[in-house]
Each structure stands twice: as C-alpha cells, then as structure tokens.
C-alpha cells in the first residue's frame, strides 16, 4: 500500500486532483451563470480574485484566516449581485456579444484595479494547515494536510451546490427560472431575483476558488487567469450547461496537466486543456454531457 501511495502514478493522480478540483470549481461557476442568464462570464476569475483580495489581504494585518475566508466569500456574493444588477441586467435581450464584451472589459478593469488598491508584495498567504507532505519510508506522498483541505473544500462546495439545485425549493425555482423564465414568471417565481442570486452564488464560489488557489502563495490579481482558461474548456467539454460535466471536465484537465508536466514538459502543461478539448470535440462536439437534439426535416 505504502509503495502505491508514493508511486509516480499516484503522485500524479494526487497532484492532478488538487489542481483539477479548483478548475472544476471555477467551471462550475461558469455553468451556474450560463444556465441562469446565458452569459459567458469572462471576468469570473478576476471577480473571484478581487473578492479574495478584499478578504485575504487582511491576513497580512494579523486577521484570523477563517474570518478572512468568510469575508472573501461575502465580498464575492456582493460583487456578483452588483455585477448582475448594474452591468448585466441592462443587456438582457440585446445581442449576445454585448455581455461578453462588457465582461472582458470588466476583467481588464478589475485586474488593473487590484494592484492600484493593494501594493504588490511577495508575502505568501499563510496556510491554516501544515504544508509538509506526508512521508512513507523516506518517500513523499504528494498529499499534505493543506492539500487535503484544498480538495475537501472544493469538493464540499460542489456537493452543496448539487444538493441545493437538486433537493431544495430554491434550487428548483432557479432551474425553472433559467429553463423557462416566462412560464416561471406566470407561476409566481420572481425570476429577476433568482438571476441575481445565480450571479451571487457563482461569484461567491469564485471567491472561494481564489482563496483556495492563493493560500500558500502570493496574492495576485491574475492568480485565477490560467485556471479560468482551463475552467472555460472544462465547462465547454461538459456542454456548458451540465454542472456534473464541468466538474468531470475540470478534474480531467487537472489530471492531464499533471501527467504532461511529469512525463513531458512543464512548459507544455497549459496545452492539456487544448488536448482535452480536441478529444472531446472529436468524440462529441456538442459537449459530452449535453443531450443531443436530433431533428428530421
């Protein structure tokens, strides 16, 4: 058993799941926003990092890590809600390129705003758990209490989201509002509120992803950029509207990156997403988890 845990393959699997879990989390955010408002949120990563900055920057001023985490997520919820109300709502019913352009602009704005507000520093965000990897007979198991915390947090959030959508009235309303807004409105569902809620949820989770990624590292406005690109592909592979697809896509890309990193070259790891995308397009171009609609004419 212990030799299995320290084997090269298992090392890659652990490494892949760690990075894949965060990719999956961001992909999930994209899917929630897409499902609820049909907007591709290019600022997803930057919004998450902005919220992360608001909360986690206080760590450097001797604030408790967990308090900072809660503050980050709360900021994420607010930023998401405001974004939907102020930037996105006026664009409903307009050409679909409009929200994309607005969100790309918002991305640039946020990434410029962060270094303007907070001085750059190479202080690393202290981890609440030990980052020392477990050892087995002198060999390293690529898991540490900190890595387990990252994975558990990411998977926990995904589980909560799944339960929310599947088993609560609120989740049912959100699904209904996204699927058939007019009918839902007729049935008394306050659709606009639920759209805002979708954005809040997505941005709050984005903030959590920002915290997970930045713990143990330097805080940087672009920390989620590379992950966003992978997450975008993961969401697309899943068909953009399947939360499960996004999660599986994210984990797949994380694993692919890790194996390329180890067996090929670190410089080629970012290609993993492209490879996964190519394969999925070749097998099922409409997204692996999308139901194919076939029509006869």
């Amino acid at each position: 058993m212990s030799t299995l845990l320290t084997s090269r393959i298992m090392t890659d699997v652990f490494g892949g799941i760690t990075s894949g879990a965060v990719i999956a989390l961001v992909a999930l955010c994209l899917v929630i926003v897409w499902k609820s408002t049909n907007v591709l949120n290019f600022a997803q990563g930057a919004m998450g990092m902005f919220a992360t900055f608001v909360g986690m920057n206080l760590v450097f001023h001797d604030t408790n890590y967990w308090l900072c985490l809660v503050l980050s997520v709360a900021t994420g919820l607010v930023v998401g809600g405001l974004t939907e109300r102020v930037l996105i709502r006026p664009l409903y019913g307009k050409p679909e390129i409009n929200p994309i352009v607005v969100m790309v602009g918002f991305l640039g704005l946020l990434e410029a705003l962060v270094p303007a507000i907070w001085a750059s520093s190479f202080n690393t965000v202290p981890s609440p758990f030990s980052q020392v990897y477990f050892q087995s007979h002198g060999n390293t198991v690529l898991l540490s209490p900190f890595v387990l915390y990252q994975i558990a947090l990411a998977l926990g959030v995904m589980l909560v989201v799944a339960l929310l959508f599947q088993y609560t009235t609120l989740g049912l309303k959100m699904r209904a509002a996204a699927l058939a807004p007019e009918v839902s409105r007729l049935l008394g569902v306050r659709v606009n509120r639920l759209l805002t809620l979708g954005w809040m949820l997505s941005s709050g989770i984005g903030a959590l992803a920002g915290v997970i990624v930045s713990t143990g590292h330097t805080l940087d406005a672009t920390n989620l950029d590379g992950i966003f690109v992978s997450a975008f592909i993961a969401a697309a592979v899943g068909g953009l509207e399947s939360p499960l697809g996004a999660v599986i896509g994210g984990l797949l890309i994380g694993l692919a990156q890790q194996f390329i990193l180890n067996y090929w070259s670190a410089n080629l790891a970012p290609l993993a997403g492209v490879i996964v995308l190519l394969i999925s397009l070749a097998i099922k171009p409409q997204g692996i988890f999308t139901r194919t609609v076939t029509r006869r004419v």
Partner: protein
C-alpha cells in the same frame, strides 16, 4: 436529411473567435500607430549629443519597480541616490546628472505590474530614447527584458552601460560596440560554484534549477564548462512568466525529481521570490540538499526565509555587516541623505532590518559611481564616442572587491567574486550579518572550460577624493 443541433456551445465558440480576432486586429493597429509615432520623433532628435546640455546630462534606465521583480527596485534607487549626492556637490564638470528610471516590470506585464497596459521593456526604452532623448541607458535590469532592446539601442547609437544581469549577452563587443555588462557572467559564477563543490563535496550528485531563459542556460553552461557531471534529468528549468500557483506546481515536480535522483548539491539560477518558493517546497517535500544560489537570487532579506541559512552564494561586494569598510560607510551616508523617496528602500527605513545595507544598494551605488568616473574623465567635451572609449580605459574604483575592468574585446564587467555563506535571514540585533564571506579570497575566471579559476586577495578601492 439529418441535422444535429449542436447547442449553444459551438455558437459561443464562433462568438469567441470573432472577439479574439477583433482584439488582435486592434492590437496590431495600435502597434503600427505607435511605431509610426516612434519613427517621426526619432527623426527630429539627431542634432548635437542627445541628452547633453551645458548644465546637465540626461540618462535613463528600464527597471522593475512593480511586478514580479519589484524587489530589485532598490538597485536603481541606490544609483539615483548617488547621482543626487553628486549633483549636490555641483555635478560632474559642472553638469548635473538627470537619471530617469522607467518601470518595465521585468518585461512581464502581469503579476502586480502597475506600469500600465501594454508597457514593455522595449516601449519604455523607446520612450527614453525618442521622448526623453537620453545620452545613455545606464543600469537597466534583467536578462530576458534587456535582451529585447539590445538591437534597438545599438541601431540608435545609444550607449547601453552596466546592464544588471550576469548574462554573457552583454559581452559581444564586435556586434554591440556600445553595450557593457556589470556583474560577473553566470558562467563564471557557476564555475566558481563548481570549484567549491569539487573542493568541499567532491562526491556530490549535482543538479540545477534555472530560470527558463539565458540566466538559467548560462548558469548551466558554466557548471558543464567546469566538467561537473550533471545528468540531463537533473538539469531543470522554470518559467517566470506564470502565476505563483502554476509556478509552484512545476517546482514541486522538479524538486521531487531531484529528491528521487538523490541529488545532494543543487545550484539555483533563480530570482529571489522563486528562490523562496523553491526552498519552501523542498522543505515541505522533506528535501535538504546543499544549496548554491546565484548572487542575483540569494539576497537574504528578499528571499526572507530561514530555510536559506547554510546556502552558498557568490558575493562581489564587501560584507554589508563590515561597518568599518569605507565604501559601506559612504553608501550608507548617501542613501540616508539622498533617497528620492524613502519608499524606494522599503527595508532600509522601516521594519526589522532598518538601517542595514544590502547588496542591492551596493550594486546600484557601484555602477552609478563607475558612470560618474567615466563621465568625469571626458572633461567638458561629452560625446557618446568619448564615453565608449572611456569605458575601456578608466580604472574604475567602486565598492566591489573585484576589479571592474573592460577592454576592447571584453565587455562583461566584474570577473568573479568571493564565495560566501548565508548565516541568517533576520537581523540579529547586535550584529546585522546575513552573509559571511568564506575565507579572504576572490575567485576570478572566464566563461569557457579553458579559463581556470584564479584565487586572489580581495581589493578595497580607495574612494576618489571628489566623491567623498
């Protein structure tokens, strides 16, 4: 006939493609526009010697003041303080020196860069040449960053002096007559490290982690030139142009490899924040080899982790703890009295290390002093041709313990330094000593396997009377 409804995703791909095309087209147009503007202004600036008036000499540098390598901001800040000090004494031959420091973010416009959208080392250098009409580029920093402007400065006839990098790129006098380096080449540095390994750890299995540009490549070349056997699997690189979490993922892989291959002496050609990341990851992986860290990535105050204690490095300045050293006293005086802004020296005026000199300050002060000496030797008649000639004839006196000498065929700069060991990373209250020189010796060598490592006594150049 059968149609497959492909859903929203493929439509969105088309939309994204269109957006990407739009962005790249407009970038291209902007680029062409700024190129045109550059051409127009350079045409109007060809009279007399650029940057030189009866009362002043304007010079400039592109340096990281924000972003991943912002920690090096102190280097040019120390140089600026020296120029302010010299100006306060009337300047050089009646001319005040006007030193323009432009933030280029190490040519990595991300990672906390606040220089502005689209700013690069090239764009900042062009601004210095075409808008500020600098006489010379003095003390610009970074191997990859400065590699992008060699040709531009050369074509425009702008002297490019004391580039802050140990790359051997700066030592090509035939191709670039006006280009001069400052510090020993990374090859020379690695050869001195190899000398130490052979003497102290002759049985060590050696590995290297280098930055994925000439910095890392030259460092490796030096180790190989010294005939150290380094297996291909233990020659590793990292990419500085990625975010901290991505960098860490690659480093975990590299360090796991070195550990698995039982490497017990690792040479690092990395910048300080990466050195810090490497040391921490190695600790987390339960790996503790003998570290040998390039001088540019070893400054204990920047690296800021006790894990660095025990590492070997190269030092071409006197120990900063040697308060009796006349140059240390002089640089302290200059930095205390003439900082452009106290924030330029974040560690010197506040915090646990307040009042402690570091090697970055001695570095900046050294090239500034050398520039003043070259300029002084020209007398009243300041021309670019005269300056280049002075570079190879002046016997520079700087804080460095290694002679700074250039010749018509050699433009590298310092030829080596002292071996030193990191002994602390925080300021011991009574004796602020971070780095201890190993023995009283200087090691000099060239880049290739044919030049041996030569041992000599360190020098202390007297401070010129007009400076003190």
């Amino acid at each position: 006939m059968q149609y497959i409804y492909q859903g929203e995703s493929s439509m969105n791909h088309q939309r994204i493609h269109r957006a990407v095309k739009l962005v790249s087209a407009s970038t291209l147009m902007l680029g062409m526009l700024s190129w045109g503007v550059g051409l127009a202004s350079s045409a109007s600036a060809t009279t007399a010697t650029p940057g030189v008036t009866a009362k002043s000499v304007t010079i400039g540098a592109t340096v990281p003041l924000s972003g991943i390598a912002a920690g090096y901001g102190e280097v040019s800040a120390a140089a600026a303080a020296v120029f302010s000090y010299v100006n306060s004494k009337g300047g050089i031959n009646g001319r005040k020196i006007n030193y323009l420091r432009k933030d280029d973010c190490y040519n990595i416009n991300a990672l906390g860069c606040t220089a502005g959208t689209g700013v690069t080392t090239l764009s900042q250098t062009q601004a210095l040449v075409t808008q500020s009409h600098v006489f010379a580029d003095v003390g610009s920093l970074g191997t990859a960053a400065q590699g992008t402007v060699l040709n531009y400065l050369n074509q425009n006839g702008v002297p490019n002096l004391f580039v802050n990098s140990g790359s051997s790129l700066w030592n090509q006098p035939k191709k670039y007559k006006g280009l001069f380096g400052f510090q020993p080449s990374y090859q020379a540095e690695s050869k001195v490290f190899a000398y130490w390994i052979k003497k102290n750890e002759p049985l060590a299995v050696v590995g290297q982690i280098g930055q994925g540009d000439d910095f890392g490549a030259n460092g490796l070349a030096g180790l190989l030139a010294a005939h150290l056997p380094i297996a291909k699997a233990n020659q590793l690189t990292y990419d500085a142009n990625v975010t901290s979490p991505t960098l860490a993922a690659g480093l975990i892989q590299d360090i796991s490899t070195l550990k698995a291959n039982k490497v017990n002496a690792v040479v690092l050609d990395s910048i300080p924040p990466v050195t810090q990341a490497i040391l921490k990851i190695a600790y987390n992986l339960g790996y503790s080899p003998q570290w040998l860290i390039s001088s540019v990535g070893a400054d204990p105050i920047s690296v800021a982790t006790p894990l660095e204690v025990g590492a070997i490095t190269l030092d071409y300045f006197p120990s900063t703890a040697d308060t009796a050293n006349s140059w240390n006293q002089w640089v302290t005086k200059v930095i205390k009295r003439f900082p452009a802004a106290r924030a330029d020296f974040p560690n010197y005026f506040t915090g646990a290390n307040a009042g402690v000199l570091d090697a970055n300050m001695l570095y900046g002060a050294s090239y500034a002093v050398a520039f003043c000496e070259a300029l002084k030797s020209l007398g009243k008649n300041v021309t670019r041709a005269g300056l280049l000639k002075a570079m190879t004839t002046v016997r520079f006196a700087t804080p460095s313990q290694t002679p700074l000498r250039y010749s018509a065929t050699k433009h590298q700069g310092l030829l080596g330094g002292s071996l030193a060991q990191i002994i602390a990373n925080t300021n011991p209250a009574s004796n602020p000593q971070y780095i201890k020189l190993l023995g009283n010796a200087e090691y000099t060598t060239g880049d290739t396997s044919t030049t041996p490592v030569i041992t000599a006594a360190p020098i202390v150049s007297p401070i010129p009377g007009w400076l003190s």
